[in-house]
Amino acid sequence: MTETDLETPAADVTRAVEATLFAAAEPLSVQDIQAYVGPDIDVRAALKSLVSLYATRGINLVERGGKWHFQTAGDLAHILRREREESRKLSRAAVETLAIIAYHEPVSRAEIEAIRGVQISKGTLDVLMEAGWVRPAGRRETPGRPLTFATTTAFLAHFGLTSRRDLPGIDDLRAAGLLDPVDLAFESLDLEAGSAEDTSELESDDENA
């Protein structure tokens, strides 16, 4: 290939300019390019021929404020970003926040925090909204006009609910033992307290009175 190029110096000039622009760490002016390729080369002519050469390609040569650089063709931008779906487990804070919104909607951030007893980080609500489960549900007409949040149809669909009324009530949760604290230490204490309760039911307080 080089043999042909050597016979056509114009092509070699273009190649030199092409390679220089390609390897450059920043856009180059005509003078910058000239400094690389040497003074005897008609850089402008080379640039012109490169512009037309690349016009229909996936890469274009463009000038911005007197500086030249290659860039990928604008119509292909959508290719250069790829979406990858990754299954990720929702954090504990996010699940709790989602649950509170589902049970109490519309609910403000402050109310969620009051129920959780913990502040919610900025990202938690973002994650829930990104997942498409939570939406802003207008401002409450109270001082400060706090933004409220509610669940979406996508939320119902994901969790297999026909409506929010399908969510088990507090009594159901208690019956299922879901209102019991999780901590094992607590659980064992609870058992003791439970047995004490059993016996104390028999007592009559009269004796102590």
Partner: protein
Amino acid sequence: MSQEQLILDPFEAPLPADEARLTVELGSWEGPLDLLLTLARTQKVDLREISILALVDQYLAYINDARALKLEIAADYLVMAAWLAYLKSGLLLPKDPEIEPSPEELALRLQLRLERLNAMRDAGARLMGRDRLGRDVFTRGTPEGLRVVRKALWDANLFDLIQAYGQVKARAEPPLHVVHQRNVLTLEEAIDRVSRLVGSLVEWTVIHQFLPDNGDPQFRKSALASSFLATLELARQGKIALRQEEAFAPLYVRAA
């Protein structure tokens, strides 16, 4: 063999006139094999045709030069020198079929090793001489970069949700500490009761007679324990007398 004559004393030799001449500078060699290879290359380009005997002489002369200059010579150079001297004598002496391996075999093995090292040295030089990325050829200076937009498929199920809610509620409920009143007879009550009931009782009366009874066995046990302590306290104060026939026998009380 004629190469042997080329080894001269370094001080007599005119500067780099002789290509076979090597300055005595042990620090620049990567070990004895490297030195041998360099010496061999001054003999012949094709290592298959070098004279091992000449090479041995070159090496020994070189080491002798270094010794004459009182240079510190690393042990492996001396080991190689000793081995080469042995090899040389083997090659020069009449063939002894008893000696295994034969000097010829040792010489051939040495030559094979030199060939291998030589091949790798050439290969390294050819590698280094290639158009190298970042030195001779360049990748794009400012790639736009490809972006992977990670779209999270959030994973949670209904059970996670309601369990989380249950835990939030459980955590949020004001903690209610119920202290269970245990039905007991306190020591003060027992002292009061026993002293009241014994009064001026002169008959020995079994302690169980003084216990209150509300039908609760737990309370009865407590009452027995505190009443017993009460009798001990009252006896100490000299208000009542105690009597027991033997261990675990009924305990009797009366006024002192």
